[in-house]
Amino acid sequence: MHDRLSRRSFIALSALGLGGFFALWALLAASALVPKLFLPSPVAVAERFAELTQQPFVGYTLQQHLLSSFGRFGAGFALAALIGVPLGLAMGWFRWLDGVVSPLFDALRFVAPIAWVPFAALWFGTGIGGPILIIFSGAFPPCVINAYRGAKYVEPRFVEAAQTLGASHWRMITEVLLPASVPSIVAGLRISAGLGWQSLVGAELIVASSGVGYLMVKGQSNISTATVMSGMVAIGIVGFAIDLLLRSLEARIHRKRGR
């Protein structure tokens, strides 16, 4: 915005920045400043990463670990969206519900998803319910908050118009509030997916016997920092991909609405 830059020089500078990042990393790894055992070079990590996709580690290949993480994530995220969005919309419409839910919600927001780990173990044991609860507790708040805000700030004109036409509560929520809050809801889903994905890894770092988080713990107990960092890379790539997917959805919705 400020200093205008051609597309070409923007890309060149980006490449420069990226190259600088890896160069700095490689330099640090090559220097005696940090022992190699604890900061492997980018090349070593890339090699280990490739190896993990070929040979199973702790029972599975990297792809299989990712798949099992992703399954947990999908279930928890879907549940958060399915409960959170309708709840948020309803809270935006029914003031009493807002009053009932808000205080509980505000209190629970600060409790870390992984603080639920002991309860998840007690309530669900080895079942899939445990990880789902933890992901859910990470992904739920943004779903609710954004749906609520979306519904709350719908143009009062529309609401009034619908009211004079005698719309029922149900139609009011589904036909007036919901369409108007779609951009806000999608933005919420994006945040929610990011937080859910992060919580999952937290849960897997502590209790699980598969998944990328588990792979990292095992890499750690084998004093293999390259394995740990490969896990981080994999987590980063998937997290990035999820965000990209939702972002393109967001862009599409905005385009459709002619913004």
Partner: protein, 345 residues
């Protein structure tokens, strides 16, 4: 609780093999890549579960505490775990200890980083004021506390930091901690890959650290015959391993690898050499209560006292409330099951 098995034994003796036609599902829990969990793997490879009419469904846990917690939701029926979690499970969820996995007194130890080990060993008093990293409420914790007691050190003489085994390995290998409580095979990982040394094991401190075979009380009441069969399969696997070392090591290698542990063959052999296991007769002997309580009662009560001192539980649970040899006796009394358990091929 004490009459759980007794009432049922009369009904079921001799019936254990009767229902072999139908296969009973049994949920078995353990911790991956541990020595005492190897028999589960061996029995599966050999098809021994099916021979007694059991179909195991396995679940694994990174440590004893989450394993115990999962028993609350009936996620598993039987399993192996450390003696410390077994006592915790007895107090919290009525878990019964029905046998021993092994004597892991050597497999739980206090380690020091290579550079500092000799100094600490020559002068244990220099440990005063140091920081020790360990996993609280574990057999490793118990071994470390026993070592401190042997040197006349109190818990308040050192700083204890509790964390998972993986974190301990990270901290010690990067020289961010000098002293750590670990259990095998993590001990071997530290020795081989980071040059750490054992400065005192549970055995050195004169403590017996057993591993426990545990059962949910409800399950024991409902399916006592399955518990007995489970024990028989477990015992047979050890019996077989005692006469097939080379094959056992090969299986251990595969089992450990799947559990994410890669240690040398020498260390694997060390596991076999330093951790005594019990066959049926041996189990019955250490659990025999005639006279002044059994050996197992004594060992577990000592662990209970350690946990009481740590503030984990207000009272030491009474051994007879949760330790029972009823199911081992069921195996003993059933000729077919007994022969099965003692088979070495």
């Amino acid at each position: 609780m004490k009459t759980v098995g007794k009432a049922l034994i009369g009904v079921l003796t001799g019936a254990a093999f009767g229902a072999q036609a139908q296969v009973a599902e049994i949920k078995v829990s353990y911790q991956p890549a541990l020595y005492w969990a190897l028999p589960f793997h061996v029995a599966s490879e050999k098809g021994w579960w099916a021979e007694v009419g059991l179909k195991p469904v396995f679940s694994t846990f990174p440590a004893g505490v989450p394993q115990i917690a999962a028993s609350a939701s009936k996620s598993w029926d039987v399993g192996g775990t450390g003696s410390v979690p077994a006592v915790l499970g007895a107090v919290r969820y009525n878990l019964l200890t029905v046998g021993l996995t092994n004597d892991e007194s050597v497999g739980n130890a206090l380690l020091a980083t290579g550079a500092k080990a000799a100094g600490f060993m020559n002068n244990p008093q220099s440990i005063r004021g140091q920081t020790i990293v360990l996993t609280a409420n574990s057999t490793g914790d118990y071994a470390v506390q026993s070592c401190l007691a042997k040197w006349g050190l109190k818990k308040s003489d050192v700083t204890i930091k509790s964390m998972g085994q993986a974190e301990i390995i990270s901290a010690m290998s990067s020289n961010n901690a000098d002293l750590g409580g670990l259990w095998a095979p993590n001990i071997y990982t530290m020795e081989e890959k980071a040059g750490a040394k054992v400065i005192c094991s549970g055995k050195d401190a004169g403590a017996i650290v057993p591993g426990a075979l545990v059962v949910r009380a409800d399950y024991a009441k409902e399916q006592p015959q399955n518990v007995a069969k489970f024990l028989a399969v477990y015992l047979r696997a050890w019996k077989w391993m005692s006469t097939h070392r080379a094959e056992s090591v090969a299986m251990m290698k595969k089992f450990y690898e799947v559990g994410g542990v890669t240690i040398s063959e020498a260390s694997m052999n060390k596991e076999f050499d330093t951790r005594p296991v019990y066959d049926l007769a041996g189990q019955l002997k250490v659990m025999n209560r005639s006279g002044a309580g059994s050996d197992v009662d004594k060992w577990m009560t000592q662990i209970g006292e350690f946990m009481k001192a740590a503030g984990t539980m207000p009272e030491v649970p009474q051994a007879s409330r949760y330790i029972t040899d009823d199911f081992l006796k069921m195996v003993e009394r059933d000729p077919k099951l007994k022969a099965f358990a003692n088979q070495s091929n």
